[in-house]
Symmetry: C2
Subunit: 430 residues, 2 copies
């Protein structure tokens, strides 16, 4: 029965039982972490072969004769650009291979626009006001970058098809100070949804007032399907922009962080030739080149894109039961109570949870007091401020299945407890 | 006999012989490169063991329990901070391990000062004028970074003991817009000299007008001795600044680029706790962490600082004959002609050559026409403009010894040819 249809007496009784259960859980002294999108140890073990592909007898020469051990190759070795081109569905020529982190590439991209401007436009540091659109809920580390640069963030609501495009279109067309939008278009962080074809088409056809408006397209989970037979397909954004006559509209980011080892993978940026030339002017001053040995290591480990796809199936085999367990537990514990909704993504690293208004922060706090760490409530909103206080990101990947189940049960208990308290308090206030 | 003491007739005869010899050299169709400070293949082979220290059976756990394969450890793993601390002669706590390139760390350090300012001071992008002192001859990639950020570069002459400190002291004390100075204090690029104790002492005691003035101390060649028994020792700058009551005056940079593999090593920054806190505010937004697996790989390869020192002796065994051959050839071919001087460094990657005024550009051009690529003349000066046109950087490390000898002979021939022409032309003009 829905909590909001229960009599006050029944709800009070429920609350009392929940509190008793919560105290029992506290005594279990849990130390579980569902806060960050980290791969599990089992997943990391899948890539240990990466440590074997190069040894002291290996020839570390690229196909074009470049010695990977020495300086050079500013935009990456050809074979890595090909592999990541296949991974990102882009022409290898449109790709720059960077260092170990796509977050760092995004920071760098904002920073360059701030210091030098984009393709001849005024550097953002010389403007009085710069704004970014931030689909919400979104990724806290994106928001941290824009906040660090003093960029004003404007939340745009998300639907199951992506950001509300009516709003996006209107705002970017009207306001020249809006210079960018953060997107995680596939298996989105945190909701796990993918942008619909219509959404991508409309993105490619934006008519921004600012010539230096760019879409920051963080395709972090492009390869991260949970199922073989049910997968989201995304229209490739660079190609769609080109077809729409908007070739320079997008910076696209990806990495192998959650494919091999987070922090020891390779990251890449894909963009139009014009943007590429613009970026290279900086890159030449910034570095002599990124880690080519690690690029070669990745290429030799996967062989080709098919090798990477097969590798991702192994990740999926580990992740699928975790996602399903969480979803089933949520359904079992909360399904009929009307106190929360959640997504059932086909890939990615997160499940998005929406509580009753005004409950998210309390739920996460309750979890913490009983030993389960969640992503801080509000983290999915710019400045950490979720105005409705409803959005919670569930990150089921890191804990082992048993721990995850305990953590999810506790989470559900906290949702029930906080929601029951909330509903009762509201009734009493009436 | 010195060229400037020869009779015009004798000099014309010499020139004619030189031209004949030059044409002969051109027919040899050389393709040699003395332009960049790249290690040779033989040197790269010294580090192939780096590819063996980790394999799929390795435990990639740090001493503190961190799984190097996963996210985290923003400032680097403890054992890498210890190793690079020993290498840089700094407290591991004062060290941040970065990615693969110290040049990138320097760029990032300038960029951060530009976008956010140093320790609460006005960001450089908000100032009308920012200047850097540039000891000359110096490193072209340093100058490229400051030029890219529109920072005005003021050349400061170098002596055999470092920059002329009277000038440095006066300028930084007088001019608040001077925010930094580029230094390669040990086995300097390109002259190979090391700063004297007095120079370092005076650096640590600078009284800059600007609160956000910093010394950019690029200790790229700290470990790069050519001899066991004759080595330059440098006063450690952070410690000296602390003793002088100027703890926050320095950013110090280093990397293993020329110790293991350029581009696949690890880089580090050492600085005071105050600067460190300031930097971490950025770092947290910029990345989740650098490549810890590669940090661990380096630690396990060297074991400790003694292992690294022994490794550097092998580099020295390869480099020493090259440096000595170049120096001997220069002495043999040019020793008594009075048309150039050069340094005899005890370490590093370069020999500095000073031609007669107005000759450097022509010498390098002549070398190029006969198939030997040198660093462009002028590259050792800000904006590529060497006002006297005398400074040439010789980079003897990359070519095999035989090639290097051919290249050096050709270089000497070009020096003689251009100098003879120059002296004759001047006489005729009188």
């Amino acid at each position: 029965m829905r909590y909001d249809e229960m009599t006050p007496e029944a709800l009070r009784e429920e609350l009392s039982a929940l509190k008793k259960e919560y105290r029992k859980m506290q005594e279990m002294d849990l130390h579980l972490d569902m806060s960050r999108g980290k791969p599990s140890i089992e997943q990391l073990n899948l890539s240990m072969g990466l440590m074997d592909v190069l040894d002291s007898t290996s020839d570390l020469t690229c196909e074009d004769g470049t010695d990977c051990r020495n300086y050079g190759q500013l935009t990456g070795i050809d074979e890595a650009r090909e592999l990541l081109g296949d991974m990102m569905e882009n022409n290898p020529n449109d790709i720059i291979i960077y260092g170990n982190s796509s977050l760092n590439v995004m920071y760098d991209t904002v920073s360059r626009a701030y210091t030098h401007g984009i393709m001849g436009n005024t550097p953002w540091c010389k403007l009085d006001k710069v704004k970014f659109l931030c689909p919400v809920p979104g990724y806290d580390r994106h928001f941290a970058i824009t906040e660090y640069f003093g960029i004003e963030m404007i939340p745009v609501p998300m639907t199951d098809n992506g950001p509300v495009m009516d709003i996006v279109e209107k705002l970017v067309a009207e306001d020249e100070t809006i210079k960018g939008i953060w997107c995680v278009p596939k298996y989105s962080n945190p909701s796990g949804i993918s942008y619909s074809d219509e959404t991508v088409r409309r993105f490619a056809r934006l008519k921004p007032a600012a010539k230096d408006f760019r879409i920051f397209w963080d395709n972090a989970y492009g390869m991260h399907h949970l199922y073989d037979d049910r997968q989201d397909y995304l229209i490739e954004i660079l190609a769609e922009c080109k077809r729409a006559g908007n070739p320079d509209l997008v910076y696209k980011f990806a990495s192998t962080s959650k494919i091999t080892f987070p922090g020891s993978g390779i990251a890449a940026l894909a963009t139009s030739p014009n943007n590429m030339e613009d970026i290279k002017k900086q890159l030449r001053n910034q570095t002599i080149g990124h880690d080519k040995v690690n690029q070669l290591r990745h290429v030799r480990f996967f062989g080709d894109i098919h090798g990477m796809v097969e590798h991702m199936r192994k990740h999926a085999d580990i992740l699928r039961p975790k996602f399903e367990m969480v979803e089933n537990t949520l359904e079992e514990e909360l399904g009929e109570l009307g106190i929360g909704s959640w997504t059932k993504p086909l890939g990615g690293y997160f499940i998005g949870f929406e509580s009753l208004p005004g409950c998210a922060r309390d739920i996460v706090a309750r979890c913490k007091k009983a030993g389960v760490k969640m992503t801080p409530a509000g983290a999915t909103w710019p400045y950490g401020k979720d105005p409705q206080d409803t959005s919670i990101r569930i990150a089921p990947t890191f804990p082992p299945l048993n721990d995850l189940e305990a953590a999810t049960r506790l989470f559900c208990l906290c949702v029930r407890l906080v929601s029951a308290e909330k509903i009762l308090a509201e009734r009493e206030a009436q």
